[in-house]
Symmetry: C2
Subunit: 259 residues, 2 copies
DNA sequence: CGGACATTTGACAAGCTTCAAGAGAAGTGG
DNA sequence: CCACTTCTCTTGAAGCTTGTCAAATGTCCG
């Protein structure tokens, strides 16, 4: 009881210079002056409990967020309830840009785990571009990169079959977590695992498959010894095979801007 | 013979102030000074013949383009040849941003019709942000909006069935052309039609369906009297029904930036 | 007329969804 | 502490949507 609904273990530090994310090496280093500007730009920090709504699907406006800790996902739904998860949001991801720009075709954002967020004022974005063009450039970078992720996902739902889709998702998320330094290496140093807070319904909604078929496809891959999901953790037992099935290619990893 | 491989009817005018696109009312008006900046930033104009490659799928770098006239599409493929069309590119669309930013996960761009393009130097983008933050802001706008289009498309391939997908694509493209003033009204003023340069293979690759099933789905909609494709033109005969089938909602139309 | 290409159609197979129901885990309240 | 609910995962069976194979028709163009 005392451990529930409290602030998640990793909440945003009061000062950006203490940001745990910037110490991972996954993000482009910034000058102290720039860091101060970002901290000034940040209007708040907040937390959303697992299952909570970060951005409502129909609600325009809103704010900009950077995920500091936890998992969330963007989604869109049809009026009869069918839901498509567009992508998963992990620490370092900037979200809410589309709400600012889009024609009104909105998406929702929901927390999977408890999530910690840095909040930026929506109407401050133009000031950011004007006063600090380099950060504006970074925002564009992040936006273009986010579209690239959705592009890949569209290739998956449009062209890959069920087995390929599941293999792709496992590889994709594993690599993203790994890049953030969130992979937990085994004691023997041979393997590793990542936190896996999503359930099979999430996977089904992500890949455009039914829940039942998702289950059976996962089972097949598991019985082939390719992966293991247990106690809320994912362990890849044969990445080579998963990459081959999914036609997955790992890209050279550049550092990414962080707002 | 004399009419082939010549410059398409609508090629970019030498001066941006004569740009036909800006006269459509679909784009945000800009100050003459800004227009001059854009014209200076533009390094070239060019044309690509129907079926030609604008950006090669595997080739990094490259340039930025604004489509001035014609149809093109972005795509990604799997190594065995399956191809997913990510979206169609119409006049006013800015393309090539991802090549600048993405981790290397590239897409290709191919011309459907003869295409006229404004060319911008890739390495001038940072200068644009620095010297003209408002244009940088516009680029971000366009990038975020482009992602919104792909989001919608992902919802389509992930959740809609074949009939819904086809209806969605018909509505989506018709509305986009209409917004650009490229709908041709009938003499009686009751209906209209748009140029329809794509074939059923394009549609199949866009919607993640087989060619045969695409054909049969189109036929069904045609026999229901919902649309008509003839002589390279698309005519919607019952938009109400198509919108209902596709769960399509028309968004309020804001003017969009044009680079 | 012959060749390349897009469209069309039928028959059959396969992949995926739906329906139904049971098992296990975790939280809730008496 | 245990019954009860709820949620997730699991499995089987049946049916429908979609893909694959094959071939005919039509069209454009040299």
């Amino acid at each position: 009881m005392a451990t529930k609904n409290t602030t998640p273990a990793s909440s945003c530090p009061p000062h950006c210079r203490d940001c745990r994310l910037r110490q991972t090496g996954a993000f482009t280093p910034v000058e102290p002056a720039t860091l101060q500007f970002i901290e000034k730009f940040r209007s708040d920090t907040t937390a959303v409990a697992a299952g909570g709504t970060i951005i409502h699907e129909q609600q325009p406006g809103g704010k900009l967020f950077t995920i500091y800790a936890g998992w969330a996902f963007r989604y869109k739904s049809l009026s009869d309830g069918r839901r498509q998860i567009l992508n998963f949001l992990l620490p370092g991801d900037l979200v809410g840009l589309q709400q600012e720009f889009s024609d009104g075709a909105m998406h929702g954002i929901e927390a999977v785990t408890d999530v910690s967020l840095c909040v930026f004022p929506r109407d401050g974005l133009w000031a950011l571009f004007r006063e600090h063009p380099a950060l504006g450039y970074d925002v564009t970078w992040l936006s273009a990169r986010a579209e690239g992720v959705v592009d890949d996902h569209l290739l998956t739902t449009g062209q890959r079959n069920a087995t390929e889709r599941v293999a792709m998702l496992l590889m994709h998320l594993y690599r993203r977590l790994e890049r953030l330094g969130l992979e937990q290496r085994d004691a023997d140093g041979k393997g590793g695992s990542i936190d896996w807070p999503i359930n099979q319904q999430h996977i089904a909604d992500t890949l455009g498959l039914s829940l039942v078929h998702t289950n059976k496809t996962l089972r097949r891959l598991r019985h082939l010894g390719l992966h293991e999901i247990r106690d809320g953790r994912l362990r890849l037992l044969n990445t080579r095979a998963l990459e081959r099935i999914a036609d997955y290619y790992d890209m050279p990893r550049r550092k990414v801007p962080l707002l």
